[in-house]
Symmetry: C2
Subunit: 163 residues, 2 copies
């Protein structure tokens, strides 16, 4: 039996574990720098940065969805789904779709008109599933990330009068 | 002379105008569905969905940056830069970089460790500028968007017990 529930402060450890498992599945484990303490502080503190839904299969954590508010200046308010993951041994049961549907209901309740997320270009099974839902792919856009030294250097750029 | 300032409630009209000009530059004007009233409510109400910086060149609006919080489960808290725009006739003065630097300083002040955004794949001048800043391109990721009928249909999916 599947249950889906909102995560609470006691779930930081399991969320952190699932984040690691997702990164492993994505073959990018070395990129994970957040710890359980980060997830606890950032997700369950005074100003939560994200929300999490946990799927349980017969009481055991099976997967999760982690999302937060996003704003499109074209479409208006939406949700950004940063992570959607189902443990490999529990796939093919509709758990991923059930999680996504819960996120869609959250969007509906809050009058948010879209869900945006990212998928690895080799993850054909996920891509096929998203297509059947009617999702579109924004393939003329490239995602840019500035971090580390580049970001630090830019903070020092102050060419002219800034009020 | 360039000045950069945080937008206030009186700037909704100019922001809405700049959003339209950006969409026109991106050849996607038909996609803009937000109105000045949306920008006013969503950016300057009780729970702002985004923040805006306005660049002025000799007192005239020259461009803007619109951004909000973003959370990476790998890196931690960051900022998402939804829009960065400089009016075509005022380019080549470093205004875009100055706006981006202000966003970088906002990130630094809030201990946010990255800025993420998207660029159209044909916008070579922007891509070249981002490269010189040390930005990376997440080209193995595809951006997915679920909206309209697909989203609505998904809200009705309820296969099993949901707590």
């Amino acid at each position: 039996m599947l249950t889906i529930r909102a995560a609470n402060v006691g779930d930081a450890a399991v969320i952190s574990k699932l984040i690691s498992e997702l990164a492993e599945y994505e073959k990018q484990s070395e990129q994970v720098r957040t710890t359980e303490a980060d997830i606890l502080r950032d997700g369950f503190g005074e100003h939560p940065e994200f929300r999490v839904l946990i799927a349980e299969w017969h009481g055991v954590p099976a997967g999760f969805a982690l999302f937060f508010s996003y704003y499109s200046t074209w479409r208006g308010a939406g949700l950004y789904l940063e992570d959607l993951f189902v443990r490999p041994e529990l796939r093919k049961r509709g758990i991923g779709k059930a999680l996504l549907a819960e996120v869609a209901r959250a969007a509906e309740q809050e009058k948010r008109v879209f869900i945006r997320w990212a998928v690895l270009n080799w993850n054909q099974s996920a891509i096929a599933m998203y297509r059947t839902l009617g999702a579109g792919f924004l393939d003329e856009w490239r995602t840019v990330l500035l971090a580390g030294e580049g970001l630090k250097k830019l903070t020092g750029y102050l060419p002219i009068t800034v009020v």
